[in-house]
Subunit: 254 residues, 2 copies
């Protein structure tokens, strides 16, 4: 059976990769992915044929993985975070649906999820994703800004916690400042915002700022933000800042 | 140092639990959780003191875990899925914030995330969470139905993929049918909906229905739903139904 694994590797280090996902990588002869994330796999990819491609070469990576698998190589396409969330799994099915090579249809695809950046960020700071939330990518490369703007307004109206992916890139930076202004129409300036970077790696940074103080110049393309809802609360325990979004148990507790 | 681990165990079996989370359980002398999820941990909790509490006893579970930890027992509070998403981590911080016992403030809390039900469901069927999505719980036990309704309308207006948690319980079942009617105001009746149950366990069921056919009587409290956006697509590969939500690469591909 021709086989392609789509594997989410979380923040990258082995401690954060599901045993099932590690098993899939071990069973593969060929690994396709972005160089940095393959390097983090260390011994897990020793003696395997690694095919690294740069950022921006997403279509090339998925095409190569499907080509290798359909040629009979057991292949793992790896992606940081959860490969099913803003990552390569969706593109693999999009190519199979819209631009398939006939031989790709013989490949059995198995997806192994991983923890996404918002989950790792949340775990480091408290429980900001404890109640209804949404995720919005600021990348307007493939999604019109009007759609992103519509979603930001909807997130504000619905009072969702908002996880922001791809806040800025090398070629665009104004979107996150617009997002801040839109959400300020719906929630207070002091709403806590978690800013996280280099999660579980050297130079990890997780901090809390007020919504009104979010600014593009403090962020980079590896940053994830979690913007609280109007219910999210900031507290200090043992001199450590914590953010959580309650389910509302306090209402029923004495 | 007094220590409490908040641990997400995903669907429950060890293959789906992060090595870091398994390590935290191994370091603990006491495990607190719902009986079924502790049982699934098998050998990992052998020779540990397990404190099982039933569904509905959420506050008791968190209080016990904080009490044990502040008495000097290294304790793991376990929760299925990601403990940070609709689970116990938020309640732990809510109790610390609103109803703390003084000794709880000496406990160092470390959270280990896990894969949430929507992620496992998505991995089994394709990539429905491939673009902007939101999560909404149907439980109106602690959240007024008006807030839930407002979020469903916002999800419709923003054209988010919608992951539905707690669609029904033993004491309530009409909410999911209302949710269907609200979303049908914004998206077509044939919108694909992923219905998943008993993920990664015996009797696992993952299927796709049309939005118009979602009905409370087909669901139970262990079911998770993922309702597509207007962009989500259903396709068949090797006689297997697949659902994905594209980022939009097709627009730039020849």
């Amino acid at each position: 059976m021709k086989k392609l694994f789509l594997v989410g590797t979380g923040p990258g280090n082995l401690d954060y990769i599901l045993p099932l996902a590690q098993q899939a990588i071990m069973e593969s002869s060929d690994i396709v992915g972005y160089g940095l994330y393959i390097d983090l796999l260390g011994d897990l990819v020793k003696n395997k044929t690694c095919h690294t491609r740069n950022l921006g070469q997403e279509t090339e990576r998925v095409t190569l993985a499907l080509d290798l698998a359909s040629a009979g190589r057991v292949t793992a396409l790896v992606s940081s975070g959860d490969i099913g969330i803003y990552a390569m799994a969706s593109l693999a099915f999009e190519l199979l649906d819209r631009h398939p090579k006939p031989e790709w249809l013989e490949v059995s695809i198995e997806t192994l999820p991983g923890v996404s950046a918002m989950q790792v960020a949340a775990s480091k700071i408290g429980a900001p994703l404890g109640h209804d939330f949404c995720t919005i990518s600021m990348s307007d490369l493939l999604t019109p800004w009007e759609s992103i703007e519509k979603r930001l307004h909807a997130a504000g109206q619905g009072d969702f916690v908002v996880a922001i992916y791809n806040p800025i890139s090398k070629t665009r930076n104004w979107q996150i400042n617009h997002a801040r202004e839109i959400l300020l129409e719906y929630r207070p300036p002091e709403t806590p915002v978690v800013i996280a970077k280099n999660l579980s790696r050297e130079n990890e940074m997780v901090k809390v700022v007020s919504l009104v103080d979010v600014a593009a110049e403090d962020l980079d393309m590896l940053t994830t933000l979690i913007i609280g809802s109007s219910d999210s609360r900031l507290l200090s325990v043992q001199n450590k800042q914590r953010v959580y979004t309650p389910r509302g148990y306090s209402k029923v507790l004495k």
